[in-house]
Amino acid sequence: MRVKYIALSAFDAFRTHRSRALLTVLGIVIGVAAIILVMSLGSGARELITAQIGQMGAGTVVVLPGSGNPTDLGTLFLDSLTRRDLDALRRPQNVPNLAEIMPEVIVSGVVTYRGERYTPAAIAGGSADFFGKTFNVYPDSGSIFTEADIEQQARVAILGHTVKVELFGESDAIGEYVSIRGTRLRVVGVYPKTGQVAFSDVDDLVLVPYTTAQTYLAGINHFQSFIIKADDPANVDKLTHDIEATLRESHRLEPGQDADFSVMTQQALLEQVSTILGVLTAFLSSVAAISLVVGGIGIMNIMLVSVTERTREIGLRKALGATRRAIMQQFLVEAVVLTLVGGIIGMLLGGLFAFLASLALGATVASDWQFVFPIEAVILGVGVSTLVGLVFGLYPAAQAAKKSPIEALRYE
């Protein structure tokens, strides 16, 4: 039988029992929609994080305490990065390709100014000079704090745009004093509206000298990370190697002993994020896939009902010359048409939900979250729903093909 007519008759069968068919494919619709949603959000997250890592620049390396193993959850509390490490890394004979280094101390807290209170996303102890050179972010009013301020643990701060507006409104902030954790800090600069730069929202940030953050805000004498810039992105591998060697020596690690720090290059970060997101997406997708199996069983059930209902029709077709193969094809195609229609509806719904979810995420979590509709999801949606139709349509189709024409014609 010609494929065209098989498909036409399959669509006829679908049309005749429209509401039954739609209810039957609901499982497929939900399964495919869920997979599309997960894949779309997964891709959105990947693009966002990739873009942020990209802003770090290819020549930037991050040193974190802890082994770098994602399961090592104690990272935030480790104090393995110290002033001694900083000095060792700064020595050109140790790490010749190091152009800039900034230790980072992140604290959380409330910023107050004359009764106004605001909690920024981050209060970072770092270097304003490094910020400018690495991320090209400079205050548009006031100035940066200097290396001398860092040396002297000066109680100064640069405010992000949002923080400034929340506390000061339209009035000038330069020279005013804000309080964080009981320490008064003089505002020396305000960053212009910038947005997201390498993992942090500059607008929602207060930058203070890292020494100040250590002493007055966090009360610690270690660092949470070092951000290091290479003299040339081509030298990142050598830079990484030198940093590792220097820190191992500074930490007095024996050869073969596990490092209590990790050096992340942009490449390594990308790979790690990619792996984590991939695993997460695969896991969530396989949960959604259970719905496809359930949906497939629904398809099988309804196809068996249909085969019984249409016993006479099958008998007639066989009497008129349909081969087993032709009957088999007809019912398989009907099952595939069912699941494919479900798959297409599921894709559209999944796309819609993903779009709404990215609008919501864009409005709340990350302002530059993009809606992504991955082409693999479409291929997967169509492929998987066709496959479900084939697999779960096979048994009913075989039952139909097996019917003998006279038994079938006699059936009332």
Partner: protein, 247 residues
């Protein structure tokens, strides 16, 4: 030329260990161009015989040749092809696809044939023309009267130009007038166009539209006689034609 040849044909069924013989070794042959009715009361085995003649079921003893070949000489797909291209079937309960149009119903056997698609439309229209239903060609068949439905079934049986038409109680579900209209079409197909027709019926009146009658009783042929005073559907043409045109 002999089209249908049965020798000592036997059919027995076994249900729950009980063996029932339905056909007790019957022999006859039908030449090309004949119009034969197989008549008998219910339970005489005529439907069983038709299934064997139509290659719809196998038999347990004797031999049956259609166009010189037995069922066993064909593969399953070839049997389907013989049914498709060399036999036409008309059933008591029409067996149409109700939601499909007259055109699509008549097309059904072509879907399974090897005939090139460009011939289809011409064949379908010519078959529908021959049963006088051109004015209904796009109607869904559930909207038609019983007589019209049976004419659609006849058109469907004709569309592949078969060697023989097997009609199983074609008037069984019809009133007298529609039944006559159907019989008239069958007679025309035989008398004018030379089709071979095998008609199964329990009704002696219907059987007498044929030229020859096999009378079946209890699984054996009791009589095999030519019909001398053949019933002519045309005698009723004045009424049926009018009726046909009116519908």
């Amino acid at each position: 030329m002999t089209l249908i040849e049965a020798q000592e044909l036997q059919q027995t069924f076994e249900t729950d260990g009980m063996v029932t013989a339905v056909l007790h070794g019957i022999s006859f042959s039908i030449e090309r161009g004949e119009f034969v009715s197989i008549m008998g009361p219910s339970g005489s085995g005529k439907s069983t015989l038709l299934h064997i003649l139509g290659f719809l079921s196998d038999h347990t003893g004797g031999t049956y040749r259609f166009n010189g070949r037995t069922m066993a000489e064909h593969t399953e797909d070839e049997i389907a092809q013989v049914r498709n291209e060399e036999m036409g079937f008309v059933f008591q309960s029409f067996n149409l696809l109700g939601r499909a149009s007259v055109y699509d119903n008549v097309r059904l056997p072509l879907l399974y044939s090897r005939r090139p698609e460009r011939e289809w439309d011409g064949r379908i229209r010519s078959a529908v023309e021959r049963v006088g239903l051109m004015h209904r060609i796009d109607y869904e068949t559930y909207k038609l009267s019983g007589g019209e439905r049976q004419r659609v079934a006849i058109a469907r049986s004709l569309v592949n130009e078969p060697r023989v038409i097997f009609a199983d109680e074609p008037t069984g579900n019809l009133d007298t007038a529609s039944g006559r209209a159907v019989m008239q079409i069958l007679q025309e197909l035989h008398d004018v166009q030379g089709h071979t027709i095998v008609l199964i019926t329990h009704d002696v009146e219907v059987a007498e539209y044929a030229n020859r009658m096999l009378f079946l009783r209890d699984g054996s042929i009791e009589r095999d006689t030519p019909i001398l005073e053949r019933r002519k559907a045309e005698e009723f043409v004045s009424t049926t034609r009018k009726e046909r045109d009116l519908i």
